[in-house]
């Protein structure tokens, strides 16, 4: 399994890498939307993308929309520290698979990722 983590906070990205690493899941980290797009373009082995919403420059929603168009099969989980009903509604309409609320414990993240896997 190959997961793309998109978060501008390196500590969060690193946390994810470490947690998923315990499950032997391959993780690629992107610090912003541009990097994520580049990674997706160069590698088609991704099963899942986990993305933050509040990021500098282009925000998470735009990234999700774009990725859904180019890679319709890729499942996307939205990671956010402020999960409001609006966020949920908007995420669902642009095709996000699910939501992960920060902060999370390792078990919670692992459960969410496994759940998103087919």
């Amino acid at each position: 399994m190959h997961v793309l983590i998109v978060d501008d906070d390196p500590m969060v990205a690193e946390s994810c890498r470490r947690i998923l690493g315990t499950e032997a899941i391959r993780v690629t980290v992107a610090g912003n939307a541009a990097e994520a797009k580049a990674a997706l373009a160069s590698d088609d082995s991704f099963d899942l993308m986990l993305t933050d919403i509040k990021m500098p420059k282009s925000d998470g929603f735009q990234l999700v929309e774009m990725v859904r168009k180019k890679h319709p099969d890729l499942r996307i989980l939205i990671m956010t520290g402020y999960l409001t009903p609006e966020t949920t509604r908007r995420g669902r309409t642009i095709g996000a698979y699910g939501f992960v609320e920060k902060p999370f414990t390792p078990d919670e993240l692992i459960a969410a990722v496994h759940n998103a896997r087919k």
């Binding site: 969060v12 470490r18 520290g81 402020y82 009903p85």
Partner: protein, 652 residues
């Protein structure tokens, strides 16, 4: 203006006084007038009787004088003499004394023996037509009374009498008594005494007065009866003798001061008196003026109605009495009206002034002045209204103040909430990232098997405390979420029952009994299920936290008892209760009495926001040491404001 109390009052006062005045004017005036008229009528009736006596006495006087005269021897002897004897001289003396207009001695064949006055020689004189003579011859005894003298009879007596009897009628009047052109009959008072000799009539002595233009009789009547009373230059009483309907002797004067002989009586009087032979006592116009009159027929010696006797009293003086009375009454009425107007004005002023002040006061109130001046409070029942008005004002003032306070606190509350919300959202975002890292590393490290026990224990503490931070931040975020509720229509009892089930275990652990009693057939409510659930759960956790073991918590639902349709959820506990000083801060964010780590103090403030957005309300009743009841009221229908979609789209 005409509908104002004042004008109504004034008009009624005016109306009443005018009505009373007018009635007393009419009734009083009429009463006075009636009694005067009836009294005067009585007087006139008596006067007429007196006049009648005087009139009749005249004939009797003549008869007596003639009887005395006829007893002289020379009278009988004169009957047998051809030529005029000294008897004529004596007759003339008698006639002079009595004021007779005609007198004479005739034979039984009515041929004249002698006559007073100038006339042709006895031989050439026609026999007399004097009806007194005729009556005396027939009855063979003395007669006296009224006689009618045709023009021919008058001429036979004396040509002078024809001239005196004649009356000019200007303007010519239509008389019931036709007279030949240029001639007028005469009315006389006469007596005739037969001269008897051994049972047979040898002759008749007669004499009389022509009443036409005669003044002594009527003047005597007027003098005797009315004593020459005068009113405004006119004599009050009048007397008249009529020949048929024709005034032949009268004291009534025409405008030029002449006696009004030659005029006629009114048709009505003629009909009543002459034709029906009755008395007439009533008002009547005599010549020019109104009189209160009395008429009665005059019968001649044959019992024929030949004329009328009249007395009358000038009505003017009594009309003046009435006029004066009416004027006095009018004056009284006007004075009454004036007094009524004055009283009405003063009274209406007393009534209207406080009313106007009240009106002005209400105008002031509507302009925002809640302590208007309504003037002194009246002692009458109007004062009740004034007091009520004052009470109303005080109540209004108090309510206004309360509302101001309430809206101020609400404003502060929502400002507080908004600023806390913004802060929370910002902080949460920033804190959650490092928190993720802390949680991750702690947990991952704890998974290791080679940790010394003390390190593991410390790490576990880190983990627990981090969970605490996570909870606090989550609470902050819940508080900050100012989102509109996502509503669905649900059965409230089901929702509450879910909450109770969630809490059952905790209650059991704490040794507190938890009971639910749902009211059957509650109407459905349209709410955000999750939000309402969090409100109920918070209330139940609060109740649990406040209640010792062996206490109890009762959750119940009911129909709302307030005026608008709604439902209520109550959570009642037998816990410690809430101190009065805490009451007002209960819904403040971060207000908590719980020990560190147990409560964030956001539960009720978040709940209040949620319920407010549902259009409902939360109320608290608590007794320290006995327990508290938290009640949430939710509207049943009136939550359309919670569906944000425009009306057009709601149909889908």
């Amino acid at each position: 203006m005409f509908y104002s109390i004042r004008s109504k009052l004034m008009i009624s006062f005016l109306g009443v006084s005018l009505l009373v005045g007018a009635v007393s004017l009419i009734v009083g005036g009429q009463l006075i007038y009636d009694s005067v008229v009836s009294e005067v009528s009585n007087r006139v009736r008596q006067d007429l009787n007196v006049a009648r006596l005087l009139y009749d006495k005249k004939g009797e006087d003549i008869r007596k004088a003639l009887e005395t005269f006829s007893m002289g021897n020379d009278v009988e002897s004169s009957l047998f003499m051809e030529e005029e004897s000294p008897i004529k001289e004596r007759l003339e003396q008698v006639a002079d004394r009595l004021g007779l207009d005609f007198a004479g001695i005739v034979r039984p064949d009515r041929s004249v023996i002698c006559r007073v006055g100038s006339h042709p020689a006895p031989g050439n004189t026609p026999p007399t037509e004097n009806s007194a003579v005729i009556a005396a011859l027939k009855q063979k005894k003395p007669v006296a009374g009224t006689i009618l003298l045709e023009a021919s009879a008058l001429r036979a007596e004396s040509p002078d009498l024809v001239r005196r009897a004649r009356m000019e009628t200007t303007p010519p009047v239509k008389s019931a008594f036709p007279a030949a052109e240029g001639e007028t009959a005469g009315l006389g008072i006469a007596a005739a005494v037969p001269v008897m000799h051994s049972g047979t009539v040898k002759g008749v002595v007669y004499g009389g007065i022509l009443i036409n233009r005669e003044t002594t009789i009527v003047d005597t009547i007027a003098e005797t009866v009315f004593q020459n009373e005068e009113y405004q230059g006119r004599s009050v009483g009048t007397a008249t003798i009529f020949l048929k309907d024709f005034r032949v002797a009268t004291t009534v004067r025409r405008q030029d001061g002449e006696r009004a002989v030659g005029t006629v009586a009114s048709e009505e009087v003629v009909r009543r008196v002459l034709e029906d032979g009755e008395k007439w006592i009533d008002r009547a116009i005599v010549v020019d003026d109104w009189y209160i009159t009395a008429y009665e027929p005059i019968l001649d010696i044959f019992g024929q109605r030949v004329g009328m006797l009249y007395v009358g009293i000038l009505e003017a003086q009594y009309a003046d009495v009435r006029r004066t009375a009416l004027m006095v009454f009018t004056g009284i009425t006007l004075a009454g009206v004036g007094v009524a107007l004055l009283v009405g004005w003063l009274l209406s002023d007393r009534i209207v002034r406080p009313i106007n002040r009240l009106i002005q006061a209400s105008v002031n109130v509507s302009e925002g002045n809640l302590s208007p001046d309504i003037g002194p409070v009246s002692k009458s029942d109007f004062g009740v209204l004034q007091k009520k008005f004052q009470e109303m004002m005080t109540a209004l003032q108090q309510r206004e103040e309360r509302q101001k306070e309430e809206s101020e606190t609400r404003l502060i509350q929502s400002q507080k909430q908004a600023s806390v919300g913004r802060l929370a959202a910002g902080v949460a975002h920033e804190i959650n990232n490092p928190l993720t890292a802390v949680l991750t590393y702690t947990h991952l490290t704890l998974r290791r098997n080679d940790l010394p026990e003390t390190v593991r224990a410390d790490l576990e503490n880190v983990s627990i405390q981090t969970e605490r931070v996570r909870k606090i931040v989550k609470g902050l975020l819940d508080f900050a979420r100012q989102t509109r509720p996502e509503t669905e229509t649900i059965h409230l009892n089901e929702l509450v029952e879910d909450c109770v089930r969630l809490m059952e275990n905790q209650a059991l652990v704490r040794g507190v009994s938890l009971e639910f009693s749902g009211k059957a057939d509650l109407p459905e409510v349209t709410v955000d299920r999750n939000q309402i659930q969090s409100v109920i759960i918070n209330m139940m956790i609060n109740a649990l936290d406040a209640t010792q073991a062996d206490g109890s918590i009762t959750v119940s639902t009911d129909m709302s008892l307030s005026e608008s349709p709604g439902v209520e959820i109550s959570v009642a506990d037998t816990g410690c209760g809430i101190a009065a000083t805490d009451m007002e801060r209960l819904f403040d964010p971060f207000f908590t009495t719980k020990e560190v780590g147990k409560g964030t103090g956001l539960g009720l403030s978040v709940s209040a926001g949620i319920i407010e957005r549902h259009g409902g309300s939360i109320t608290v009743r608590s007794t320290v040491g006995a327990g508290s009841i938290f009640t949430v009221w939710l509207p049943v229908q009136n939550n359309a404001s919670m569906t944000p979609a425009p009306a057009g789209k709601r149909e889908q």
